[in-house]
């Protein structure tokens, strides 16, 4: 990513800096287009509407999980339990399918996610445990209980419900993924509530200056408890879509997406210290990661190189942000 802070051109260096700080979505979109162009140069003729649909479909679960990270990072936190919660939710639905059915399964999964989120939120909000530790501990608890549940239900047949498979994997007219039906309203809701609602402003306020927020009357602990419940619920939605996409129900399904979700948020311009960022950047970040990953696969690079590239991208982008925003 070329953060040309020195170049003058028609805009001054300060102008570029302001652009990257206030509107990270512009350079991020440019980066996304760059990656797509590279892809089309490397694999001519592959980049078309069908390809875009496949990429979008793959990016949706990651983008939702990254949404959990964005919301929690705005308050200066992080939610490492999203992987465990998402996998648990997907598995729960699959395991309850043959008996009680889809509706009960969805309800039980969402209820379990709510409990997990409540636990994290109470720890972070009331007991002031570091969010990293709290969500890590909760992820152990969720994973362990999900494993125990798996052993209990191993006799009954499990399978991903066809409804979820349709929403997660199939595409409208063979082109537009159905998962956008879930994602677009959800994303719009997040973006709007961050910008327009008091709750959204409260998240920024708590992340920016918790003491000031408290002194101006924000009840931080209530905000945080609601936040982590919302995060867990979003994670379970991502889990439903992911199990539908991969047609797999496993208690570790989404674990590999936890670190990329943090990466997408960081790339999207949300500060890990809180108070700065937004969801639109995160969505572009998730798309960049998905396209880059597809690009490296298309080039025949092994998983190893892909991982190294991921790491390098995170460091470089985060360094660029910290340079231009002047935060340490």
């Amino acid at each position: 990513m070329s953060v040309s802070t020195q170049t003058g051109g028609w805009r001054t260096a300060a102008g570029w800096r302001r652009l990257l700080r206030d509107q990270p979505i512009v350079p991020l979109t440019a980066l996304l287009i760059l990656v797509v162009v590279i892809y089309s140069l490397v694999r001519p003729g592959v980049v078309n509407a069908d390809w875009a649909g496949v990429i979008l479909r793959a990016a949706v679960p990651l983008a939702i999980l990254a949404g959990c990270q964005t919301l929690t990072m705005l308050t200066g936190g992080i939610d490492l339990s999203v992987g465990a919660v998402a996998s648990m939710a997907g598995f729960m639905v699959a395991s309850l399918l043959s008996g009680p059915g889809l509706g009960v399964g969805l309800a039980v999964a969402l209820a379990a996610a709510t409990l997990a989120g409540l636990l994290t939120g109470i720890g972070v909000g009331i007991f002031r445990v570091h969010p990293l530790i709290m969500s890590l501990g909760v992820s152990f608890v969720v994973l362990g209980l999900a494993n125990a549940w798996q052993i209990l239900t191993v006799q009954s047949s499990t399978g991903v419900p066809p409804e979820l498979r349709m929403i997660g994997a199939e595409r409208f007219g063979g082109l537009i993924p159905y998962s956008l039906l879930v994602f677009v309203p959800l994303a719009a809701l997040i973006v709007l509530s961050l910008r327009r609602t008091g709750y959204g402003r409260m998240l920024y306020a708590i992340g920016d200056n918790p003491v000031a927020a408290r002194l101006s009357g924000a009840r931080g602990w209530q905000v945080l408890i609601v936040l982590y419940v919302v995060s867990a619920l979003m994670a379970s939605v991502a889990g439903f879509l992911l199990s539908g996409l991969t047609n797999v129900a496993s208690v570790t399904l989404a674990d590999s997406l936890v670190l990329p979700s943090v990466a997408a948020t960081v790339i999207g311009g949300t500060s890990i210290f809180g108070g700065r960022g937004g969801y639109s950047g995160t969505i572009v970040g998730a798309l960049i990661l998905t396209v880059t990953s597809a690009l490296l696969t298309a080039l025949g690079y092994p998983e190893a190189v892909r991982q190294i590239m991921f790491g390098a991208i995170i460091v470089v982008v985060a360094a660029a942000y910290s340079r231009v925003t002047g935060e340490t």
Binding site: F127, I133, G137, L145
Partner: protein, 334 residues
């Protein structure tokens, strides 16, 4: 444990007072030890066969995790956190295993030294990137976890390689007396050689200083950047020895990182190292590791679902941190 805070250090006089002061300073570690003893007694009660061989097994399974916890403790004391420990362990382990396979015993010595040096370099790169880019530790080490993990996969695609016989002999089996496993001796030696001198040295003090208050440390003339790089390099060194212990105990190198990063964070918190930095030591986390592993074993002896051990580890982690933050909160109210 809170040597850097020095709240009760001033007490000098009757030996009883000193003992009381020492106990108060090491209160957290002592209560952890008490929990460990209770757990050991409990283990013996529920499983009368628990004896020499089980202690040996415990020591072997604890070794990599204990070294990882030591690694995590150093950078957390310095006010950072290293999420790439598991990946560094995987990378150093596969490098060691792939280089030692089919080579002579003497060559193994060179490989071990080289791998330890590699650990120092990996850690120094982590610290250097943090200092140069001014990106938060957690983001950089998260990214470096990808990088080192990927590099490990480049070295070996699947678990393979070998280990020099002397390296295996170093950690497997008893050391003279059958009740003292070699793995424990190795652990104590590593800690004694690296940690004890460090803690007394100027560099060690600087690490505590930048952890407890970076600005104050800077104004007192501590080179914050250099100290940070050193702290991360030492984390890398401990991670490399943890990786070597994996190779030694399994005889191969596995490029897929184990659950060591997250477990090391859990052990560090359980071991009384404040995540805010500047407090704690290496012994607490090591006792924390023993407790975490013993609970897992006990669950197996009670023929409970092993997954419930994971649940209980999570609950212990949460409970301990909640308890700790409550104490801190009450203290700050006084």
């Amino acid at each position: 444990m809170s040597a850097a805070t020095g709240t009760v250090d001033g007490v000098r006089g009757r030996p009883v007072d000193e003992l009381v002061a020492w106990t108060r300073r090491n209160g957290w570690n002592l209560s952890l030890l008490a929990i460990l003893v209770v757990l050991l007694v409990f283990t013996k009660m529920i499983n009368s066969n628990y004896g020499v061989s089980s202690i040996q097994g415990l020591a072997i399974s604890v070794l990599p995790l204990a070294l990882a916890a030591g690694a995590q403790a150093i950078c957390v004391i310095g006010g950072g956190i290293d999420l790439s420990i598991g990946s560094m362990m995987a990378l150093t382990s596969v490098v060691a295993a792939s280089q030692m396979k089919g080579q002579g015993e003497e060559f193994g010595v060179a490989v071990v030294l080289g791998v330890l040096l590699l650990g120092l370099v990996l850690g120094a790169i982590n610290g250097g990137v943090i200092v140069v880019t001014r990106v938060p530790d957690i983001v950089v080490t998260l990214a470096m976890a990808f990088v080192w993990g990927g590099a490990a996969l480049l070295v070996l695609k699947t678990p393979a390689g070998g280990s020099a016989q002397w390296l295996k002999d170093l950690v497997l089996g008893p050391a003279g007396v059958e009740w003292i496993p070699k793995a424990t001796v190795v652990l104590l030696v590593v800690v004694a050689v690296v940690w004890m001198p460090l803690r007394r040295s100027k560099v060690g003090l600087s690490i505590y200083a930048i952890g407890s208050n970076q600005l104050a440390a800077f104004r007192s003339g501590v080179s914050v950047g250099r100290t940070k790089v050193i702290a991360y390099a030492l984390t890398g060194l401990f991670s490399a020895s943890a990786g070597l212990s994996l190779t030694a105990s399994t005889g191969i190198g596995n490029p897929v990182p184990g659950p060591y990063t997250l477990m090391s964070v859990a052990a560090v918190v359980l071991g009384g190292v404040s995540l805010a930095g500047g407090r704690g030591g290496v012994f607490g986390p090591i006792i924390g590791v023993l407790i975490l592993v013993l609970i897992q074993n006990d669950m197996a002896f009670l023929s409970l679902d092993p997954n419930l051990a994971l649940v209980s580890q999570g609950l212990i982690l949460i409970g301990v941190v909640m308890f700790g933050s409550l104490i801190q909160w009450r203290r700050s109210r006084r």
